[in-house]
Symmetry: C2
Subunit: 191 residues, 2 copies
DNA sequence: GTCTATACGACGATAGAC
DNA sequence: GTCTATCGTCGTATAGAC
């Protein structure tokens, strides 16, 4: 007498987040979406955090696929620019899911999911920056993109209108700067 | 028979956010902190959102002061580097207040507060990038810093340890790239 | 495995006495 | 302006029948 399954529950939760936002994601709502009552969810997921963790992990898998597809067959610099655009597009399409993925309350759960999803960054940047700076470059790129899209989806960007020009400027400037850092010293540790 | 005031309420709310986090900021907690009962708060602030707006505005004023102080008397590039460090330090000191400042649910409230606080960015960058690119440069810088500190305070940074090296790398790369964009064309609008 | 029923708590906000 | 008392809502989670 199984009326649902883990996969269906996760899918329903994800749909709710995408269509109605993080705040609408209650156990009752998820249960209703899969055609059961709230208590039944506790047979599949220990608690709400476990369910959110599953949603989050699935979302990171999707993000990774999109970043990989964007970089596919491109030379490093072009790959980075396309990854950046794909990252922004992902966040724009499902801002609430994006917020969930980086929700501070869930970070402790599954760090591996995020790492895997961001591997394309380092892959593209490794051949752009100097040896041993791949990790820093990936961190820098993620910071820029994460900050930009968060400001954008949160309505906190400095200017109100469309931000395409600012986005291109920012991504291009960082790429240029990172490409040059190759020859420089590896970041002095000034206190 | 005034046992409290707007200023004391805002200060108490801010202290709660800093010391116990955003989630601990309830009307009851604020009231208790100033020595009254929850209903009394509604004589001073129409609702919770109004109170949060006041807290947020005050926080932006403080941030602005710190950024200005950091840039004080410095040449543009040094000013930018010091502003970046001050921005990061602010977020590190009071991460929950920082989250509140950029809370998507409050963005509609007072956009001017944020704009004013970020003026030092544009002031420092105006003489680094080409004419007419000041706004984009400020947007790019804010994006990088916002993204970096959010990843850091949310525990979502790619690497676990301290991130000083990555921070310096990122800020320096962006600065370098922006300085060079001066001679380039103003960002093509490729779809 | 699903259900009904419910415990339990927290929250924001209001009404009305003093 | 402050209080007591309370409303109404929503949330997670559990107990126990079927």
């Amino acid at each position: 007498m199984t009326k649902t399954s883990e996969a269906k529950i996760v899918a329903a939760a994800r749909r709710i987040v995408r269509e109605q936002g993080c705040e609408a994601l209650t156990q009752r709502a998820v249960a209703a979406a899969v055609g059961v009552k709230a208590p039944s969810l506790y047979k599949r997921f220990r608690d709400k955090a476990a369910l959110l963790g599953a949603v989050r992990a699935e979302a990171f898998v999707d993000l990774e696929a999109r970043l990989r597809a964007a970089a596919q067959g491109q030379p490093p610099a072009a790959a980075f620019l396309r990854i950046a655009a794909a990252f922004r597009a992902f966040a724009a399409e499902c801002p609430d899911l994006y917020r969930l993925m980086f929700d501070p309350a869930l970070q402790s759960a599954d760090r591996a999911a995020e790492s895997r999803a961001l591997a394309p960054f380092e892959a593209a940047l490794r051949n752009i920056v100097g040896a041993g700076q791949g990790a820093s470059a990936a961190h820098a790129a993620l910071s820029l993109l994460h900050g930009f899209v968060r400001l954008e989806i949160d309505g906190a960007a400095p200017s109100p209108g469309p931000h395409d020009e600012a986005f291109h400027f920012a991504v291009f400037a960082l790429l240029q700067g990172m490409a040059q850092s190759e020859a420089k010293e590896p970041a002095p540790n000034a206190a």
